[in-house]
Subunit: 256 residues, 2 copies
């Protein structure tokens, strides 16, 4: 049996520590192609580059691993990776390890997870990994053991097409992690604000900031289980239809 | 009873014809605040601006309507609008009318629809409108009748919090539109490619391009009904959990 082909990206950029740690684990499982953004792309969600051209070129940054740096978003990187493979399909797509957690509704804002969702759209089993630590020098050693377990089981169990996994890892020593919970996306939201400042020319500018708050106490949500020091795994789909609301809207009797 | 407060944005930018046509209909229903991107933001998905500051300032472009132009993405515009309202909550959020359709999985890539999804996250009934015509001078007259019908019924029926509507309009005369169908997001995907070119300095660059293809024949999908000249309405949610797959992943027995 040939080794699995694994396409890898992230949203913190091609030199990020988390990406390099992910590569270090993934190379034990198969042949890798890395296509990562040439600059940080946090918060880019499912953005694609349509109003501007995209550039990508090979880099020797990863030594013996085939790597490209790409001017686009994480989703662009997945599309570029598919293009570079010239019809050969990856067996698995991995994204991360993100510097910062992506639980709950952050799945929508996260470039890391949007790359994994794009993989699901391509019909390829995909996993996004995030560590609850924004620091560029965060300790990824516990994460590496977790990535190894999850990637190994995903390959062993032939992960279903059309979904991806949103994996979040608490920022504690491995001995303090209580286990791995597969659960649902919790109801949690950003309480946004804008930090108003004035530039040297006297014009106002704003930083988007805020705090992330859980709106439910249930034990079966990713946001609450991550806070309880569990690794959380949320199977994630690209169908955003609110199926239960179709009948309600049909009852409006919309007509021309 | 006071008039509804309606927050409006789009992704084609604050001077786009589709936005101005939407404003023209919406002002019949309530008090408006328009916060729109200062440049085209197509394909920006749910991107937010976190690595750079954001600017927004008032514009008199919309005459008697309070309007702001914003340097950020459509989702940033919704967040900026909420900030500018200083705690007052809009009764409705409208986005569009987009120049180009956003059926099926385009809900993920679309700045227009991501602004509506952000509205749903904020707990505000939200609707994104898209016309199947990319031209900057597209004819929005049939669309205006449809927007009026849907916004009127959304206000009348007190649209549920936590969902938004993805409305797509065929590019034909009103008399040729067969009706309005509430349905689900179809399984359709971009078959991507990159158009390789060489710049004057001899370096390669690429345009992301491709064709959008439906992968199912079912009558109850937005992509197929739009092709049949129906206006399509898909109730859309922000929970991306693949609930049916939770049990399957739990059976992998992930452990540390």
């Amino acid at each position: 049996m040939s080794k699995p082909l694994i396409l890898i990206t992230n949203d913190d950029g091609f030199t990020a520590k988390g990406l390099n740690e992910l590569i270090d684990v993934a190379k034990q499982f198969g042949e890798l192609l890395v296509v990562a953004p040439d600059q940080p792309q946090s918060g880019m969600g499912h953005a694609i580059t349509v109003n501007n051209p995209i550039r990508f070129h090979q880099t020797d940054y990863y030594n013996d691993i085939t790597g490209y740096q790409c001017s686009g978003t994480p989703v662009d990187c997945i599309k570029a990776g598919m293009y570079l493979l010239k019809g050969r399909k990856p067996d698995l797509i991995l994204s991360g390890i993100n510097h910062g957690s992506n639980v709950s509704t952050n799945v929508l804002y996260s470039g890391t997870m949007s790359a994994a969702v794009e993989g699901a759209l391509e019909g390829i089993p995909s996993i996004g990994f995030s560590l609850t630590n924004y620091a560029s020098n965060a300790n990824f050693n516990p994460s590496k053991a977790i990535v190894k377990e999850i990637v190994g089981k995903a390959i062993l169990n032939k992960m279903k097409k059309g979904i991806c996994l949103n994996v979040n890892i608490p920022d504690v020593e491995l001995s303090k992690i209580k286990g791995i919970k597969t659960c649902r996306q919790g109801e949690a939201f950003w309480d946004d604000t804008f930090d108003e400042r004035v530039d040297p020319l006297g014009k106002k500018y704003y930083w988007l900031t805020g705090s992330f708050k859980s709106h439910e106490d249930s034990e079966d949500t990713d946001v609450n289980q991550l806070n309880n020091n569990y690794v959380t795994v949320v199977p994630t789909q690209f169908d955003m239809t609110a199926h239960k609301s179709i009948g309600e809207i049909q009852n409006w009797n919309l007509e021309l």
